[in-house]
Amino acid sequence: MDTTPSAGGRALPSSGLAPGRAARHPGRLLRHALGVGPFLCYLTLFLIVPSAAVVTSAFQSPSGGFTWANIRASLSGVYLQAYGGSLELSAIAALASAVLGTIIAVALASSDRPLLHRLVTTGCGVMANTGGLPLAFAFIASIGNFGIVTEMLSALGFNPYDHGFSLYSLAGLAIVYCYFLIPLMVLVMLPAVQALRQEWFEAAAMLGARRRQCWQLVGIPVLAPAFLAALMVLFTDAFAAYATADVLTQGSIGLVPIEIGSLIQGNVLAGQQNLGDALGFGMILVVVVVGVAYAVLQRRAARWQR
């Protein structure tokens, strides 16, 4: 979103030539690059090296030779189901949060009360950082088996657990995930929604568009790039989440991070030491594939921003 604002903007053919002064002198560039050395070393040591280790050992047999066995094992039985569970959960949670978050952002943007805005953005800033265990326990306390809301509903004669609901299921997990995904979505979408100009809707109406068409042909396409970007991050957030799932499912639902966790904690069958690494490699791969798919979509959706 680095495009020059159009305010009074002259025609600007997209030119790729805007390097800093330094770039023209290779010697100086090298010297300047040294300043970034510590950062790059740190990143390499504590992120790149461990990640590379996961990828390589995913293809190593216990004796150190190359093998597909780990990968094959990671794509069978419970592990395959875990992939299914993880993908389904992340997709549902991300999509639901993205849609709901956008609706909330639209509702909020249509109000011009500064206090309400401040309250909601502050609340979202706080909630977006509320993940993990406390959140899981808060939900257990409210709609768990013996949660307060559950008991209130039971007293009214409607126990959700008698009607197929369970906090400890995929749907339950998705509800909990939404708790920290929705606020993030609101924070991302609010500036985009506020940037929708009244003139666009009025111009569309003057050209013959009904309200639904205004959103369909103008509002939604304009919001699409921000929406897609956020959707991708929500998905990877949900896909990687471990703590909440661990507390709530206690192993009852297969999810890739949980399986990896239990492999690390020592429930390893003989000859499967590198199985965890294969699963980890798979997770990285999923994130990368989602990223690439997103980039392709985004190239179409955000064509007009460049």
């Binding site: 970034v36 740190y42 504590f46 309400l116 800033g125 977006a128 406390p134 306390a141 990285i284």
Partner: protein, 303 residues
């Protein structure tokens, strides 16, 4: 004519028309439902935690918490890790960001993309990598919580880097540096007396983001079997549900208080001048906005 135009603008600014109409009822239904969804778990945990026999208010669970020494050990460890993480983050990122903006502006985009890399590797997977690659290193690294601080720096990078970089970009770096250098200040003095005071706000934000991250991180600490606040909370939860909820509520309240407090603190001081250029810090939602910024960058960065 200019005065007229000015008056027009003021009038527009005073009463902005919304870009689209959402029915008042629809709007309030949406916002109230949202509020309920976010408040119910909190209120419910509060009641769950402090309800004694017969529904009376009771602090009994607090007593249990106070006697749990392992929990307090965990809290201390977590605070130590937080301090270490915040320190390393600042030592690593503040000079790097200043350097990039001063000497290597063409690298900005690259840096933004690099700092997004941690989003690609889930924490659980990182643990696998740590166990494999640091297996043969001296026990110092894997045997103490130091490794947690070192890795938390990496995992919080997408957010902390944005917090600091937006602050560095908002000040007129070249002018400040040239002015102080021409007045005879050395690099160290220039950094300490000129740049740091101007970056106070973003340094606070980054420090807070690190601390918030450290106090909540469970996956790595648990899988590397360290006793931190979240891991002890987990153990408590498997044994005494009420106590766990109590601790959670306390934890949430403390985290939020710290969040609001630090952003209020960061809101004072010289950085106010640049408030317009620093949306990240002009609002208590600072940390959330840093996350939002990371998301937006993830959007443009990877394409």
């Amino acid at each position: 004519m200019a005065a007229l135009a000015g008056a027009r603008r003021r009038q527009r600014a005073a009463a902005p028309r919304t870009a689209f109409r959402v029915g008042r009822t629809t709007r309030w239904v949406v916002l109230v439902l949202t509020g309920l969804y976010f408040l119910v778990p909190i209120v419910a945990s509060g009641r769950y935690a402090f309800e004694g026999n017969g529904g009376a208010f009771s602090l009994a669970s607090l007593g249990l918490v106070a006697r749990d020494t392992a929990l307090w050990d965990g809290v201390v460890t977590s605070l130590e890790i937080s301090a270490g993480t915040a320190l390393i983050t600042l030592l690593l990122l503040v000079p790097t960001s200043i350097w990039i903006n001063l000497r290597l502006p063409s690298w900005r985009r690259t840096m933004e993309n690099l700092t997004l890399l941690p989003l690609v590797v889930p924490a659980v997977v990182l643990v696998l990598g740590i166990l494999t690659s640091f297996r043969n290193l001296p026990g110092l690294l894997l045997g103490t919580p130091v490794i947690l601080a070192l890795e938390y720096v990496v995992l919080a990078l997408p957010y902390t880097y944005r917090a600091i970089d937006s602050g560095v970009r908002a000040i007129d770096l070249h002018t400040l540096v040239e002015a102080s250098r021409s007045l005879g200040a050395g690099w160290v003095q220039c950094f300490r007396l000129v740049l740091l005071p101007n970056l106070r706000g973003s340094i606070f934000a980054a420090a807070f983001l690190s601390v918030g991250f450290c106090l909540g991180e469970f996956a790595i600490a648990n899988l590397l079997t360290f006793n931190t606040f979240p891991t002890r909370l987990y153990e408590v939860g498997t044994e005494y549900a009420t106590e766990a909820v109590t601790v959670s509520v306390l934890g949430l309240v403390v985290t939020w208080a710290v969040l609001l407090g630090i952003s209020a603190l960061g809101g004072r001081g010289p950085r106010r001048r640049g408030a317009a250029g620093l949306p990240l810090l002009s609002d208590p939602a600072a940390s959330g906005e840093a996350r939002a910024a990371a998301v937006a960058d993830a959007g443009t960065g990877s394409s």
